[in-house]
Symmetry: C2
Subunit: 199 residues, 2 copies
Amino acid sequence: METLIKEPTTRNAKNTFNMIIESAINLFYKNGYHGTTVNNITQEAGIAAGTFYLYFPSKLSLYKHILIMFSHNIRRTIAANVAEKVTRYEKEREGLKSFIMLAKENPQMYNIIWESLYIDRALFKDYYESFAKRYIKGLNNSVKREEIRALDTEVVSYILMGVANFIGLKVVLDLGDNNDDIEHIVDVYMDLIKHGLFQ
Amino acid sequence: METLIKEPTTRNAKNTFNMIIESAINLFYKNGYHGTTVNNITQEAGIAAGTFYLYFPSKLSLYKHILIMFSHNIRRTIAANVAEKVTRYEKEREGLKSFIMLAKENPQMYNIIWESLYIDRALFKDYYESFAKRYIKGLNNSVKREEIRALDTEVVSYILMGVANFIGLKVVLDLGDNNDDIEHIVDVYMDLIKHGLFQ
């Protein structure tokens, strides 16, 4: 967490804080991080320019805050849905489905997370490495329970993150066909990782 | 192909043309597309500012030209390596390996291709949709030859592109471990798509 951010305590301050964040998300999505100034954000939020700095020392600190928000939101949503499932098979299916639904409902999320590669490569690296760490933990537990095969779970975590990201991208940007039928997409994925690709 | 680009005919012109492209690739990688001006490019290339416009009408047309170059290069390299292999299994292994090697040798490629999402979303969409089309064709042929199972090859193409992209990214940005042992990474992938994930 960015230590220099001043988290608001009163209800008014919280409203302003949230309005800054919401405006920034819309503008970063529409015009990109580099195409958005602090002035654009305060104008969009309808607040005085100086008010921004009561909460965030810079545009970058606001961006980092949003990145952490998204990351927590993704983890929390997937974890809550996956927790209801028992087997690794069901957990894997629910995990992918939750991620796609979340991406579809928040198309800005994708753009803003990936843009970290063009803002500070270390942010992108941290983001996916910390995501992978949790994924690996879950996979290792499933290996112990003999639910999945004892493959290198570190490599597997990046393989499965890649699938989730590209399938999410396909749905969000409507690449190719089938993008309204998420159950079908998830079924193809499960079929593939259950029975393999080859005859 | 961007029709407004003036392809050079003399050797001197070709040298200048290539120097502009090489300088642009380095600067786009270092400072991003939005952080690079035409002036930066001509300075880096050591040519007069006006010379740029003898070849490219704009920074965007140069970017599009580079994107097409990368796309052709990736396809040509993978196709050449894959052509030597006989079975779909060997083709799939060689395809992933070639892609990772190419990404490792050209770390700018990744950054510049993905940045299209922040330059013009339609470019990104076109890039992956046209890549998918060729992938689907190859997969459909393998289904006909009964080498792979009759899954929805459109969805499968995005799944496998996602894997290649994230594994490539892992190696290029050195995310997590194992990134020097590309044979191992490719083996884990092949094991996964041959035998599936589950026990």
